[in-house]
């Protein structure tokens, strides 16, 4: 039996069907265009993406090894005023995340104060004992953060997830804007939108500001570490390295030399100062972590701890975006900033707690249940759209390992129209703003990546499961 989802907040149209102020400029332009223009431009854009090679690889899919993430031509628009409030909230949250990480790997005041149960750290693979007592260069743990936001009303933005390990998708944010500007130049002369294209420059500057003690160059040498061309996000790794003017390296290019991590160049081995790694902790150093890894660098953790290199993001940051930790974020923000959180969490039941578990089991059909360590929208249950049989099966899993799950209400995610064969139609969206952290401060790129569920009524926006993306605009004042 399928239940209908609660009515959602539409970001373009209000309840009477009139256009909200954020979309006024866009809609006026839209209505003046010939009916088939957007569709025509849509296929132009797809050809453009194929040619430029903006694809992602899908694991375990031999035929479609490289796929495009569908791009929708209708922008997602946020007003300057909304953005001001959002960015204040994001900055607060990211400041708290870094302070939290420093504390976890040092005195653990938050545990001592009783605000965070010690059991969340014990046996948690995301918590790295190797990082205890060590402070990364510049005191920065999460150089790059992606905060996933969902919206349920005019002023109701909530954090769905913090991505503190290696958030991806920023290349889509950049290319989506490039595409929109190439397809509809005159639109951008009519509606003033805040620039995103200097993100790579800011990223390079931000990373360079975190050079390790051993760096003796005026301009630190930055490299991007990729698992290689078969990784699903390879395009992004290459894109960012290219845009930053940084080297794109693989594990096999690197080795330890004179207490530094050096890359094999045509002239010999050259030390790297800052490594923006897009390789998970587990694969970073076969000496310290997974001994079978060929993606990392043997001995890099020793060099790191001795101040020979900066690793961004720092190893062990994954503990901060663990879904079990997530439910404590309101307390964490307050503990480290002394302020009330500006951005709210989605209400979360921790199934490890007996009372919460009982509630979740009693209301399974209304809830979304997620694995604590899962990602990419896999292994989750969306109660209202699941069949009786799926619910029963999930209930068994939940009872067997309650500590493995959290549950949240099924949110009425806001909608933004997409272009369909039948014209504009509302679809659910989320938003991932990208945040850079350096000793010089926190830098948020206006907007971010909007992911959109292309299927009618669907709440799953993940690109690996049929989601698409949109250009995300923050209007200029």
């Amino acid at each position: 039996m399928k239940k209908t989802l609660p009515l959602s907040y539409d970001e373009m149209l209000d309840a009477d069907g009139s256009v909200r102020s954020a979309y006024a400029g866009y809609c006026q332009w839209h209505d003046e265009q010939p009916a088939d223009l957007l569709r025509r431009k849509g296929s132009e854009a797809e050809a453009f993406f194929r040619r430029t090679g903006i694809t992602f690889n899908v694991y375990g899919n031999e035929d479609a090894e490289e796929r495009l993430i569908p791009f929708d031509m209708v922008p997602r628009i946020i007003t300057a005023q909304q953005w001001r409030k959002l960015s204040r909230g994001i900055e607060q949250r990211v400041r708290a995340l870094n302070a939290f990480l420093h504390d976890l790997y040092h005195r653990q005041e938050i545990v001592r104060s009783g605000r965070l149960p010690a059991r969340l750290l014990k046996n948690n693979v995301a918590f790295l004992p190797e990082m205890v007592g060590f402070t990364p260069p510049g005191g920065v743990y999460t150089h790059i953060v992606g905060i996933d936001l969902v919206r349920t009303g005019e002023d109701d933005f909530m954090v769905l997830e913090d991505n503190a390990r290696t958030p991806s998708g920023v290349s889509y944010m950049l290319e989506n804007r490039e595409t929109m500007m190439a397809m509809f130049p005159e639109l951008f002369t009519r509606v003033r939108v805040r620039e995103v294209s200097d993100y790579p420059r800011r990223l390079a500057r931000s990373l360079a500001a975190c050079a390790p003690p051993a760096c003796d160059r005026k301009k630190p040498l930055v490299a991007v570490l990729t698992p290689g061309i078969y990784n699903s996000a390879y395009f992004e790794h290459a894109f960012l390295a290219d845009q930053m003017g940084a080297e794109l390296v693989e594990g096999s290019d690197l080795r330890v030399e004179n207490g530094r991590i050096a890359m094999r160049t045509t002239r010999g081995y050259e030390p790297i100062d800052v490594l923006y790694r897009r390789v998970d902790d587990e694969y970073l150093d076969p000496l310290t972590f997974n001994p079978n890894s060929v993606l990392g660098v043997t001995g890099i953790m020793d060099v790191y701890r001795a101040g020979g290199i900066t690793i961004a993001n720092a190893p062990g940051t994954g503990i901060a975006d663990d879904k079990a930790i997530y439910s404590f974020m309101p307390e964490i923000v307050e503990f480290y900033t002394g302020e009330k959180p500006i951005l709210q969490n989605v209400p979360t039941w921790r199934c490890s707690e007996p009372e919460a578990l009982k509630y979740v089991l009693d209301n399974l059909a209304e809830l979304v249940v997620k694995e604590v360590h899962g990602s990419g929208g896999y292994g989750m249950l969306i109660g209202p759209t699941s069949s009786k049989r799926e619910l029963v099966a999930f209930e068994a899993k939940l009872r067997a390992r309650p500590e493995n799950y959290i549950a949240q209400p099924t949110l009425a995610l806001s909608t933004v129209p997409i272009l369909t064969k039948a014209g504009l139609a509302p679809r659910h969206v989320d938003l991932r703003p990208f945040v850079l952290v350096s000793p010089n401060g926190i830098d948020i790129t206006p907007g971010g990546l909007t992911r959109v569920a292309l299927k009618k009524g669907s709440l799953v926006v993940n690109s690996s499961q049929g989601g698409g993306t949109k250009d995300s605009w923050v209007l200029d004042d």
Partner: protein, 315 residues
């Protein structure tokens, strides 16, 4: 630059060059086959497979049935042929993806675009009617990438490695064509002056896109010695061995200037390049064309290996 990137650039351009040269070979073979009797056509197709070093692989697949469609489909797209034009183009693109940061957007897009078009064109077996268009496509891709490189890339080490890849490969290809066809160019009593010789000679030239240039330089006279001289020693013809080596020399010299030191490969190249300035075609025929070519191919391979070693292409 990274040693791995130098390797990627070098091979990207080797593969593109190889695909282009193979397409010229097929075209020349196809033309020959069209103008000959059935059994001569079979010989021609077989010789093409031999030139490409594919005899064993081909016969494992088709036996000794050297028909045109079998041969050119095998060379273009057969999955059992790891050196098919499709596989080579795929290899070129993989290398381009790997060194994406070292090449300009224009170069990347022409590689990627060419690969996409070729993948579509080779999705089904190629018929004789479609062959010309497919071969055109391969050559156009190579030309387009070269143009994009010429117009947008910095003249630095990356460019030097790209050019060295192109010319090592081109020299190898020209030499291999000579190696298989040398007997056509050897003085022979029975055929001298016959029209068959003329066609064969022209075919050698066509395989390296040199028939017009040669005619233009020689006012239409065809003679084997002149053709061999043209392909080996004429520094004006961009596919001659002498031309390839003068380019290799200037690119390796730029590297030495940029890096401030010479490597072992510079020494090898100096010796190899020298011979093109002192050698005469009479001397080469005296020494034996076949021996000369064989020695050249081995030395060329050794040079490529030394470049890869000197510049740390791999660990």
């Amino acid at each position: 630059m990274l040693g791995r990137s130098a390797n990627g650039i070098f091979w990207l351009f080797r593969y593109l060059e190889r695909a282009e040269n193979i397409s010229r070979l097929i075209e020349a073979g196809f033309r020959m086959a069209l103008t000959r009797s059935a059994s001569d056509a079979t010989d021609e197709w077989r010789s093409l497979i031999v030139t490409l070093g594919l005899r064993q692989a081909f016969e494992a697949r088709h036996g000794t049935e050297y028909t045109g469609p079998h041969v050119f489909n095998f060379i273009l797209r057969d999955k059992d042929n790891p050196g098919s034009i499709m596989a080579i183009t795929e290899g070129a693109r993989t290398n381009a993806r790997m060194v994406r940061g070292g090449i300009t957007r224009e170069v990347w897009e022409s590689v990627n675009d060419g690969w996409m078009q070729l993948r579509d064109a080779l999705a089904r077996p190629v018929t004789e009617t479609r062959l010309g268009a497919v071969l055109d496509l391969v050559r156009r891709q190579s030309t387009q990438v070269r143009g994009a490189m010429e117009g947008t890339m910095l003249r630095n080490e990356i460019y030097n490695f790209a050019r060295m890849g192109s010319f090592i490969e081109r020299a190898d290809n020209t030499a291999r064509i000579l190696d298989v066809k040398y007997y056509v160019l050897l003085p022979s009593v029975s055929y001298v002056g016959s029209s068959l010789d003329n066609v064969q000679w022209e075919n050698v030239l066509r395989s390296v896109a040199g028939e017009r240039a040669y005619r233009w330089l020689n006012a239409g006279r065809m003679d084997p010695r002149g053709i061999a001289e043209f392909l080996i020693l004429d520094g004006r013809f961009p596919r001659s061995l002498a031309f390839c080596y003068s380019k290799l020399r200037s690119n390796l010299a730029s590297l030495a200037r940029e890096y401030g030191n010479e490597m072992h490969s510079h020494e090898i190249l100096r010796d190899a390049d020298c011979q093109f300035h002192t050698a005469t075609i009479e001397g080469i025929f005296e020494q034996g064309l076949h021996e000369f070519i064989g020695k050249f191919i081995r030395a060329n391979t050794a040079l490529a290996l030394q470049i890869q070693r000197d510049y740390r292409f791999t660990e």
